[in-house]
């Protein structure tokens, strides 16, 4: 049971990180559909760095940097050249799939050491809870820290309010004197960083070797999670755990030989995403104030 919960948590962390990053980007008005691509880049970056420097912690840094690099490409085109965000995001995923396939080719068949667990003094000794909550790896702690941080950041800090203001009405933000494009660049790159670390977590903890397209749609599920969470940070934790649970449930089902074909079990996370989106969207269309009003709209500057 304990092991099961631990695997569920581990499975949900990439989703959690990627969704959190995307949430910040979307709050500023940036809709980046390239999360899948940024996660793939994070994964391949982490693998390369760990094989080269032989320390899993460099993998986290490399993953973050790869994600930021991808987000920068996205930002140049959507923010500076005002391209359509939906199409550019798709392009980023296609591009990153190609690029990581190329960069990952030499890594095929090599295995990396996994990220060590960090026990928190005394707390880790608490039965059950201790090993679930206080015997995690660095990224797990980091992701919870990020969620707590951005919850407060968005609600109480002036910068957080400005970020929301930019996503709410970029023209007004510009009139009041905020550098809309710069703020969106930061938010977009933060999104890239989180997606990159989320992607890095996959080889660092879940499957320690490279395969093409190894994120298997997690980036897209992360996008759905942001909607599911109605742009409220802590709800991402709930959503990510649910999806982690569903993913693990189908693995358990396959392992225990449930009388359901494995492919149908594997569909569960994807079907669950559709169902979750459907349930949430009906509510959102009535209460649309939670959706950032400028989301996906390019900012042309002032006339």
């Amino acid at each position: 049971m304990e092991a099961l919960i631990l695997t569920i948590i581990a499975t949900s962390i990439p989703l959690l990180l990627a969704a959190t990053g995307e949430l910040i980007a979307e709050k500023s008005g940036i809709l980046n559909l390239g999360v899948e691509g940024m996660m793939l880049s994070g994964a391949v970056g982490a693998l390369g760095a760990v094989l080269w420097l032989e320390n899993p912690y460099y993998g986290i840094i490399a993953g973050a940097l790869s994600g930021v690099l991808m987000a920068s490409i996205f930002s140049v085109f959507t923010i500076n050249f005002m391209t359509n965000q939906v199409a550019t995001g798709l392009g980023l995923t296609i591009f990153a799939t190609g690029l990581t396939g190329l960069a990952g080719a030499p890594l095929v068949g090599k295995t990396i050491p996994s990220l060590p667990k960090i026990e928190i003094f005394l707390l880790a000794d608490i039965p059950i809870i201790g090993s679930i909550l206080f015997k995690q790896d660095f990224v797990a702690y980091l992701s919870i820290a990020i969620i707590i941080f951005i919850s407060f950041f968005l609600k109480y800090s002036k910068s957080g309010i400005i970020l929301r203001a930019v996503g709410d009405d970029h023209q007004s933000a510009h009139s009041v004197g905020y550098p809309v494009k710069k703020i969106r660049w930061y938010a977009s790159c933060f999104g890239g960083m989180c997606a990159g670390i989320g992607g890095a977590y996959i080889p660092l903890v879940l499957t320690p070797h490279w395969s093409e397209g190894m994120t298997a749609g997690r980036g897209w599920i992360a996008l759905a999670l942001v909607v599911f969470a109605s742009w409220i940070p802590w709800r991402i934790i709930v959503g990510a755990l649910i999806f982690g649970g569903i993913t693990i449930a189908q693995l358990v089902g396959q392992a225990r030989g449930w009388p359901i074909p494995s492919q149908l079990l594997s569909m569960m996370p994807y079907l669950a995403t559709i169902i979750a989106l459907t349930m949430i969207s009906g509510r959102l269309s009535k209460n649309n104030s939670v959706v950032p009003s400028s989301l996906g709209k390019p900012f042309f500057g002032s006339q």
Binding site: I161, Q171, S175, G177
Partner: protein, 518 residues
């Protein structure tokens, strides 16, 4: 003149700014004295907004010099403007609907300040200046007048030495305007200069000390506002005599053309307005004016009158006593009801389509009865081209080329085209929303004349407008929409602008004494 004795606060010399080929400002000179209310007058597109955006650092001038207190400054951003004591209230507010009042004000402050302290200061200032707002409310929940108060408080928090106000009265009721003027005069007497942008002449004479007139991007005159007349201002602004509207003798019929009964419509999104128990009727040969401040349900009313959205009940709308509530917009067009929505581009027209295609947009249904099924499937380019040429010719639409894109037309010409397209269908009932909003005086006069002619020829017209002058000038009967509720209908001779103003602010006509605006 007294002007020379005054100390100059802001002096701008030879300000120029162009957007591509379009010259918005050309060598504009202006100087504003301390404690002076300085008006900036000009038609739409004369360059007023561009100039003040330059002063507030939203735009950068191509050339020119700005001095504040005799020191040369370069206002590179609104932050720099605020540091130099300049505050601005925008025409289309620069507020964030999803944030609270206090959050909105907090993020516009340059100094570091705690959230609670901001709330306290807002409460203090709003008492001091009688600008009442709840600091913890979401801006999306405020009325237009309240939003303006938030913008003013936001400026006052900075202790400005110059307050710029861009067309502040266009969204206010006459009573609110009175209050605003009181505040502005008090501000000026406390030493703060005010740059007041408007195209309304009476206001300027009432309020301003000095007025600078802009025309086609140039400053053509600076006049002492206390020693001039509205006529002189108008002619200087337009550069020619203004043609008066020809109002002929009425031959009113008593026949009801169009009627709305007990219509309710819940808002379909959070920022919308619910319509409550709408009742109205308009006779043939009559113009019914629907006054009201923007955002009080005009858009929603228009959607349901046009048939873009259907009524729940067929009996809720009647044409010649026949229920048509559940017919769609094209069926109503066939019945002779023509509508023009408020939004000119993206709603009444598609900007990246040609005029002939935009003609086809509301014209294609004409084929469905007359021609073979195959014609109904096609987009009939030749027919719509012929039709659009007629519209262009009959309505004096000035085009840069034959069959241009809608986006290539100026606002006034596009509106003339839209109106002409509706008239070409020879409507029995015409329902037009804000037909002269943001249009230059020449086009506005032409459009108003067409509306009068239409009612003279025995058609029924409903005119939804936020321009009270226009409503009184054209209408035979007047009603007011406020927060989705329509007032009873008054004959134009039985009601004064003050009454209408009260109704616009949601007060009963009977209960005429002014309450303090909360």
């Amino acid at each position: 003149m007294a002007k020379k004795e005054l100390e100059i606060l802001l002096k701008a010399t030879k300000i120029s700014k162009s957007f591509g080929d379009f010259v918005a400002n050309q060598n504009i000179d202006i100087s504003i004295a301390k404690g002076q209310i300085h008006a900036l007058l000009g038609e739409n597109g004369a360059g007023k907004s561009t100039l003040v955006k330059i002063f507030y650092g939203v735009l950068q001038p191509d050339s020119g010099l700005i001095e504040i207190n005799n020191q040369k400054v370069s206002i590179t951003s609104p932050n720099v403007a605020r540091k130099n004591g300049i505050g601005m209230v925008f025409q289309h507010f620069s507020l964030f609907p999803a944030l609270t009042v206090a959050e909105n004000i907090l993020i516009a402050l340059d100094k570091k300040i705690k959230f609670n302290k901001v709330v306290n200061e807002i409460t203090k200032l709003s008492k001091e200046w009688e600008l009442f707002v709840d600091p913890l409310k979401l801006v999306s929940e405020l009325s237009v007048g309240e939003k303006q108060r938030v913008e003013i408080i936001r400026c006052l928090m900075q202790n400005p030495s110059l307050l710029i106000m861009d067309e502040p009265t266009s969204v206010l009721t006459p009573q609110e305007i009175k209050n605003l003027f009181k505040i502005l005069k008090r501000l000026a007497s406390s030493g703060c200069s005010i740059l007041y942008i408007s195209h309304k002449l009476e206001e300027i004479i009432e309020l301003a000390d000095e007025v600078t007139i802009l025309k086609s991007g140039k400053s053509i005159a600076s006049i002492n506002a206390k020693k001039t007349t509205t006529n002189f201002l108008a002619e200087t602004m337009v550069g020619k005599k203004i043609t008066e509207l020809k109002k002929a003798i009425k031959s009113k019929s008593k026949k009801i053309a169009f009627e709305v009964k007990n219509l309710d419509k819940l808002k379909d999104h959070e920022f919308g307005i619910s319509l409550t128990n709408i009742n109205l009727q308009v006779n043939y040969g009559e113009i019914l004016g629907v006054a009201g401040i923007a955002g009080n349900g005009q858009v929603e009313l228009m959607e349901i009158l046009s048939g873009e959205i259907n009524c729940e009940d067929n009996d809720q709308i009647l044409l010649d006593k026949i229920p048509i509530g559940t017919t769609n917009i094209n069926e109503r067009r066939k019945l002779g009801i023509e509508t023009i929505p408020e939004e000119r581009t993206f709603h009444a027209t598609v900007p990246n389509l040609t005029l002939s295609e935009n003609t086809f947009l509301t014209y294609f249904f004409k084929y469905s009865n007359t021609k073979s099924w195959i014609t109904n499937l096609l987009n009939n380019p030749q027919n719509s081209l012929d039709e659009s040429k007629k519209i262009i010719k009959n309505n004096d639409v000035r085009c840069p080329e034959t069959n241009p894109l809608a986006s290539q037309l100026s606002g006034g010409n596009l509106q003339k085209f839209i109106l002409g397209r509706s008239l070409a269908n020879n409507p029995k009932v015409a329902i037009f929303s804000q037909p002269t909003w943001g249009v230059d005086i020449g086009a506005a006069t032409a459009i108003r004349q067409k509306l009068l002619d239409l009612s003279q020829s025995g058609k029924a017209v409903i005119l939804i407008s936020q321009d009270l002058e226009e409503i009184f000038e054209l209408s035979n009967k007047i009603c007011v929409i406020n927060e989705g509720v329509l007032s009873e209908i008054f004959d134009v001779r039985e009601i004064t602008a003050t009454d209408v103003g009260l109704l616009m602010g949601g007060k009963n006509r009977e209960n005429q004494q002014m309450e303090p605006i909360k």
